[in-house]
Symmetry: C2
Subunit: 251 residues, 2 copies
Amino acid sequence: MTFDALGTDPDDGRPSARGRSDWAYERLHAAIRDSALEPGQRVMETEVSAWLKVSRTPVREAMHRLLAEGLLEPALTGGLQVSFYDLRAISEFYATRERLEGAAAALAAEHADPTERRILSAMLEAMRALPADPRAHARENQAFHEQIYGAAHNRFLLRSLRALLNFVPLLGRTTYHAPDRITEADREHTEVVEAILARDPRRAEEAARAHIRHAYNSRVRVVMEDVRTTAERRSHEKPVLGPLGHASQRT
Amino acid sequence: MTFDALGTDPDDGRPSARGRSDWAYERLHAAIRDSALEPGQRVMETEVSAWLKVSRTPVREAMHRLLAEGLLEPALTGGLQVSFYDLRAISEFYATRERLEGAAAALAAEHADPTERRILSAMLEAMRALPADPRAHARENQAFHEQIYGAAHNRFLLRSLRALLNFVPLLGRTTYHAPDRITEADREHTEVVEAILARDPRRAEEAARAHIRHAYNSRVRVVMEDVRTTAERRSHEKPVLGPLGHASQRT
DNA sequence: GACAATACTTATGTATACAAGTGTATATTG
DNA sequence: CAATATACACTTGTATACATAAGTATTGTC
């Protein structure tokens, strides 16, 4: 039913032969990211198979990957559904991310080689030259953070961070939609990079953690606004987010 | 060839109908854990399928899970192989684990409820009553750490830690094979629990991190011993571990 | 005798057919 | 009218058949 409305997206024609599985994964991931599939909605192999016009086998593998990454979860009725999340989950997410990003920055300060340090500085300048488009900044921001992860030279930390960031698509709009977030982020990024260039792990860690704490605040603002908007638009349906009364886990 | 030697393991008869996939996963996981499949060895779907006497479909899913968890990795020739690791990987593993365990302990100190605190104390005493068997201690130790993870009440941190610890089976024997490690671990565990009971996040974090640092030292000792033993036993084959010259990433 | 091209083998990716379990709806009986 | 039992439909799990790509070996030609 809902799948019909998703369209066929003719730009992204079915791949020649190799990668139907990856392709199905991308399509589902995009559908969740764009809220075409809403949290709690059941996702069935047969339906997706019909939608994407591929057999159940690659669809199955794609859904299992999404299950492992937490974007899908087992439904009470059996089968899988798009994961629910609430403000508590967002709080937990950022608490964990703060630790991991802090660790990455500290290790980058210790282990980044000269080339990696130069690239970090360059990316900083490149971001300043960017237009005020939230999407462009979000993309460059991701590349910037990936650069730090790489400079940390720790494969396990990299894996953990990648797995963690898979959850981001569920959160909706980027934090760069919050007012002044772009300017703030630039200042915070600068402090992180300066600490890394100065080979000061403690300062790098604290700067990175502060950066994530601020991102969390912006995130909450953006999400709360979305909740309000959604509640207004359909006042008698149940809101996407759960009850807001839970104590935040942040320190 | 190697799969014939693994036997049929009649205790664990093939499951009724549901769960061949999980069962295949367990069998492969156990095979890697017990070094029946050595690092670098190629693992083919058809072979495993014939070995376990199930079709390729559940084997495929099991292998994909192991790939996602890092126990298998893409082979240069195509297909999958048991992941290689070296002392550098072990160093990176413990560096990341130190951060995550520290975070879990700190959050547990803040968020553990009275029941969880009581259970932590009880587990501590239970471990003291255990015989000096490394395997028994390893098992209880795992439950103890899981209890801390749960008490942290952070689903993302829990996921990260679980994913990280999936790598442990590749490391071989437990660190409890190192002399005096059982006594040391008890002392370190006690400090962690005391800090959690005292609701002191900083002390809990530092105690947990110190605990992991010590575990790392024991791990290196155990692995080095294994390297020596292996090298003696088959002096003209290539050792399981790579060259040891890499700088450690530890702080 | 050596090098290149072609064919065959092998392993993974994909599709489809089949089985089993669960939930719901309908019909029958008390 | 209500409750229970049976049957059917739906969904996921498993098996097998088929396609494709890659690597190797063999054969033919220079």
